[in-house]
Amino acid sequence: MKPEANAGVLLRGREISRRWGGLVAVDRVSIELERGSVHAVIGTNGAGKSTLINILSGEIPPSGGSVELLGQDVTGWTQPKRARAGLGRSYQRNTIYPTFTVFENCRLAAQARTQKPWAWWQSAQRCDASTTAARQAAAKAGLEPLLDRAAGLLSHGQKRQLEIAMCLATAPEVLLLDEPLAGMGAEETERMLALLAELRADHAILLVEHDMDAVFRIADHITVMVNGCVIASDTPDAIRTNPQVQSAYLGH
């Protein structure tokens, strides 16, 4: 892998399709994620946004098309292999480890980078690489004062922050974020947007989000999906004035 050579497009989906029986959930969608930019995907419920994320991250296989990560074709790779290669994702619903502390949630995520399962005699807490990465990720997501709190006891907004922190702890190049702002208060939304703006510099970010104000504020590029198809993909300003988008989604 030569990250420098791929400084531009880090993740590329080509003509991705997914059919569930007769239903076409995602229909020949192509998408490119570049380092230093936030690419938002918007669309109504059932437009295929989450399915697209699941295909890009390797959770489900596509019916057609290909996925390229850091210049390599990863279509046949499992999700864990893609994750180790630098693809991080967060989930729409909180999928933290509720019984573990905030720190352990992050540490376990960071451990994915230095798994060493054969070192059975060595305490996991002794692995400096993962404890350091965990602390840094938690600090970046603003969870530093809560490191020892059981994750299940966090507020909803804090759990969303933890989702991001766990994602960051694996040191990914590409972030696929599925509705990170869902259910957040105004203040928490501001904090999350500031974090995303900060992360933009060294990551390629795919943002699926329903909060339109937030999307238009932070996105560098917006793709609009309707019924599994891309109907427009452009800069926020162009999307705002696109008549097709207005009638299909933003209008009324």
């Binding site: 991250s57 959770e59 499992t78 999700q79 864990p80 292999k81 994750a83 180790r84 994702r89 989930y91 909180n94 999928t95 933290i96 480890y97 509720p98 019984t99 573990f100 352990e104 540490r107 376990l108 995520a109 451990q111 994915a112 980078r113 230095t114 798994q115 060493k116 399962p117 054969w118 070192a119 059975w120 005699w121 060595q122 305490s123 996991a124 807490q125 692995c127 993962s130 059981a150 299940g152 006891l153 766990m166 694996t170």
Partner: protein, 336 residues
């Protein structure tokens, strides 16, 4: 946190110290009984690694126990003592290999299907020894000369066997305690709580689960080996689903999610069994011991949702109201 860890360690150390001193206080009946219970404790620990640590409910653990036991008997020479130095590892590896094969196939399923597939593989092993002359069929076979390590250790002596079993129990407990704190052990915990997230983070969970399954089979094989040496006899009942169920009840009774729960559960189960079987207490009714044991287990599961390990916590809550740790647990339950 550290304080709690230390008190747990003190409790376990005290248990082992009592076990080490027990032969001074009890006669040969007691030594024999406690040897058997310690074998069950090792067996329960093997299942705790799967159920409590990894979240895999295996209902075929007796197969690995039985294979360890049969390997010990079948591989022993007829008229001289087998070398402990090779027979013990070979018996463990035999059980672990069967676990590797069973795990490789059954870990492709989840939940109830996993329970049923592991049961099916155990029944397969059961019928192989039950219906073929390989291991003496339903009659089983005897181990006439017990294994020894030169003139140093001769497992024919009941005291020697007692201390050897205790050493194995301490070793198995220490091994698992260290293992569960390692990166491997934490990954297993992550798989138990949220396997999907583990995969999204970059852990290929299948090899982790297979490794845990194989290790568990090996430890169950160790217990089986000791059981065969202790009884000097094996029969197909060692692989029956009754035993798989009994060991599951032991860890539930003791408290799933804690290594010492397996220890406590094995003792509680075996002592309850002895109690209800006792003619001195129940007279003629003692032959219906299953009834008493069954009712006690139902009552304890209903009254002790966290097992015997959770009993002190339950008392504390009753005395001083809901503690903070209980709220965490409750919250965690809601989340899961």
């Amino acid at each position: 946190m550290n304080h709690i860890d230390r008190s747990k360690a003190a409790f376990v150390a005290a248990c082992f110290a009592v076990l080490a001193l027990l032969p001074l206080l009890t006669g040969s009946y007691g030594v024999d009984l406690v040897t058997k219970i310690m074998v069950y404790a090792i067996f329960a620990l093997s299942l705790e690694l799967l159920v409590g640590a990894t979240g895999l409910v295996c209902f075929g653990q007796a197969a690995f126990f039985g294979i360890g036991a049969y390997a010990a008997v079948l591989l022993s020479p007829a008229s001289e003592a087998a070398g402990l130095w090779w027979l013990l590892p070979v018996s463990i590896v035999a059980a672990a290999m069967y676990a590797l094969a069973v795990g490789a196939l059954s870990l492709r399923t989840k939940g109830v299907y996993f329970i049923m597939v592991t049961l099916a593989f155990a029944q397969m092993a059961y019928y192989v020894v039950h219906d073929t002359p390989l291991g003496g069929g339903t009659d089983g076979i005897y181990l006439y000369v017990k294994p020894a390590l030169g003139s140093l250790i001769d497992l024919d002596g009941s005291l020697t066997l007692y201390f050897f079993t205790l050493a194995c129990l301490v070793a198995a407990f220490a091994f698992l305690a260290v293992l569960l704190r390692s990166r491997f052990g934490r990954a297993l915990a992550g798989i138990r709580v949220n396997e999907q997230r583990m995969r999204a983070t970059g852990f290929s969970t299948y090899p982790y689960k297979l490794a845990a399954f194989t290790l568990s089979g090996g430890i169950a094989g160790l217990a089986g080996f000791l059981f065969a040496v202790k009884d000097g006899f094996v029969n197909p009942e060692l692989m029956s689903w009754h035993l798989s169920g009994a060991v599951l009840i032991m860890i539930i009774l003791g408290g799933i999610g804690h290594l010492r729960g397996a220890l406590i559960g094995a003792f509680a189960f075996a002592l309850l069994q002895e109690f209800f079987k006792s003619e001195a207490i129940f007279g003629a009714f003692a032959k219906h011991w299953h009834l008493g044991l069954g009712l006690t287990i139902i009552a304890s599961v209903a009254l002790l949702p966290r097992g015997l390990v959770g009993l002190p916590g339950q008392w504390r809550e009753r005395l001083i109201g809901r503690s903070r740790s209980a709220t965490v647990g409750q919250e965690a339950m809601n989340e899961a």
